[in-house]
Amino acid sequence: MIGRLFATEDPRPAALMRIGLGAVLLWDAAVHWPFLVELYSSDGMPMPVFPGTRLGPPALPAGWTVVLYSVLMFSLFAVAVGWRTRTSLVVAFALFAWIGLLDMTTFAKYSVVALHLLALLPFTRSQDVWSVDAWWSRRPAFSKGRASERPLSPRWPRLLMGVMVSAIYLGSAVTKLQTPGFANGDAIRFSLLDLRWGGGRIGMWLATRPNLLVLASFATVLFEMTAGILLWVPRLRRPTLIAAVLFHVAIGVTMHVAIFTPLMLVALTAFVTEADIAAVGRCWQRLARRRAASDDSRESPGSVADSRGRLRRMRSPAAYVVCAGVCVGVGFAQQHATDRIGAFRPEASKPWRTLKDETWQALMREDLPQAGDYFHSVEIGSRIGSFRVFGEQKMFRRGMTVHVVARLVERRVPLRLTWRLVGPDGTDHLRRDVLLQADSPYAWQSFPLVGATWPTGEYAVVLEATPVLPGIRNAPGFEPKTEEVFRRTIQLEGPR
């Protein structure tokens, strides 16, 4: 076991992770660039992740924030291309942590994943291939079939990254098992309906398919319980990796989770080996119908030497710092010119928005929700299980039972429910009155169709609700009204 820690490996998988990590984080930083003064500076509205704790970094004025953010973006670019890689990784880690912890909106668990990877990558030799550093060092960075010439990278950092990935999957599974309402699909359903990270078109469609939601819930837990372990089994590593990729792509397609999906794909490269990269390379060659050739054979040594010679000055630390300085200058100029919140030029700040009377009155009008809006769904069926109904929904025979299940929203008042089974003659064949407490997410009722004298024909299953408002009596506008929230007709047939 200890020996495994000191094993070495080809640096290409680590380089793949470095490129992916730098690219994903750079893209995320670019997306937030227009809002960085608002999000991260003391002139905006910083919302620290851990206010008042040791992990609450100071928010700086707009100018300094732009400087730091520009340096962050430059370092992420340098990570992606492999220029002064270790330095860039350390700088990126420090700035990503500092800036990220200033805003809870843009800092989430995927940011923590990124920090773990940024912290561990400097211990690898990811800069030895597919990088500017390797190109300047005159290493055959892009040559095929030259594995014997590539230096080796320590294996232990990627082992720790693998531990992190496994912990993520197992932790996620534990969270889901501990969440009430996960097994029946409610957790996924309402997550897909959430305004902040809910689904796009596909996710919203999935939210309307209860059976798929339950299957997706079990499949998710099953995958997360097993993937964290199977990734370490050599024979099952590749299929599990493929399943993990599909799993995260599905999440990315169905929900708004920022860079979580691409970041997890980057983290999964902790389990990618040189053999995988070589296999992909062979597939690519077959698809492109190219013969294997080394880069040295395509590029004459003379031209490579010429280009390296011209750029020799760029190898110096001073060149790196100068380039970073140019990025800062360009970034500062751009932010100063746009100045969205008036941090640099007070005259650019937006005026206060005064509300019109009708807008204000609409905001202050505290209407009670309609009783029907306390219900998310009401379903009918001939079988019931796990707070869901199945089977017949329209045609019932004497002797069967009509089950009705209502899913209600939380944060509501108690409700007085009246369940009715109305016969063809309009009279109530069955009626039940129930007081539903505010903390009950479900209400259900069963109507056994056992009346021997009941006529066949069309019946109606009706649910009425009346809000119970303790402490408010005869107040104008607050009189609780009984509302019919559900009516479904069924056909009662005779026995077979």
């Binding site: 040791r54 923590v112 959430d194």
Partner: protein
């Protein structure tokens, strides 16, 4: 750097920049901390982030809950008798995200722990610009609706058999602002509370 020299194949085995002892200790520490917080997570003992913020970095409890209603918070200040100014989200707060880019940063602050310092800053700025008519009352307004109304209209009609009403409801609480520009939060209010 610890260079182990060429291996049997003649390939360079440039080592890690740390010694073997440090590698073992680092790996042990990383795995131990991960396991410690993992076990606590299994037991349901999730770290209190105000006391153990470091636990956030080793506890993988994504999406620990969900809500069946959607709500959005805004803060309005009353200056004088009939002048109502929208304080939060401010006109300069333009970052949006989520479904249809409809969510604001206020919607992520479940504990509303960041409202107070930001509000204080905005109140001071407003009062400095309008010394004759400072803000005297602050209203924290919560607009909420059932999450099913977030469905696209065609899906809503397919499931519920009716047009999506897109109804929204409002509840608010008001707080006085003293002459120093400090909001008088009610006793027992840690901060304005949004969703649990």
């Amino acid at each position: 750097m610890n260079d182990a020299g060429p291996n049997q194949d003649g390939r360079s085995t440039s080592g890690s920049p740390v010694s073997r002892v440090a590698v073992v200790l680092l790996c042990l520490a990383y795995v131990s901390v991960t396991a410690y917080f993992g076990v606590r997570h299994v037991l349901g003992d999730v770290p209190d982030l105000t006391e153990e913020p470091a636990g956030y970095f080793f506890t993988w409890n994504m999406f620990p809950g969900y809500s069946t209603t959607t709500s959005q918070i805004s803060v309005v200040g009353q200056a004088g008798e009939r002048r109502f100014v929208k304080l939060l989200p401010a006109t300069s707060h333009r970052y949006r995200f989520g479904v249809g880019n409809a969510a604001t940063r206020m919607d992520m602050d479940r504990r509303r722990s960041n409202i107070e310092p930001t509000l204080q800053r905005l109140l001071k700025r407003y009062d400095a610009e309008h010394p004759d008519e400072p803000i005297e009352t602050v209203f924290v307004v919560e607009t909420y609706w059932p999450s099913r109304f977030n469905l696209p209209d065609d899906l809503y009609r397919e499931v519920y058999g009716e047009t999506n009403p897109h109804r929204k409801y409002v509840r608010s609480r008001n707080y006085a602002v003293n002459k120093s520009g400090d909001v008088q939060w009610s006793p027992g209010d840690e901060k304005p509370q949004g969703q649990p």
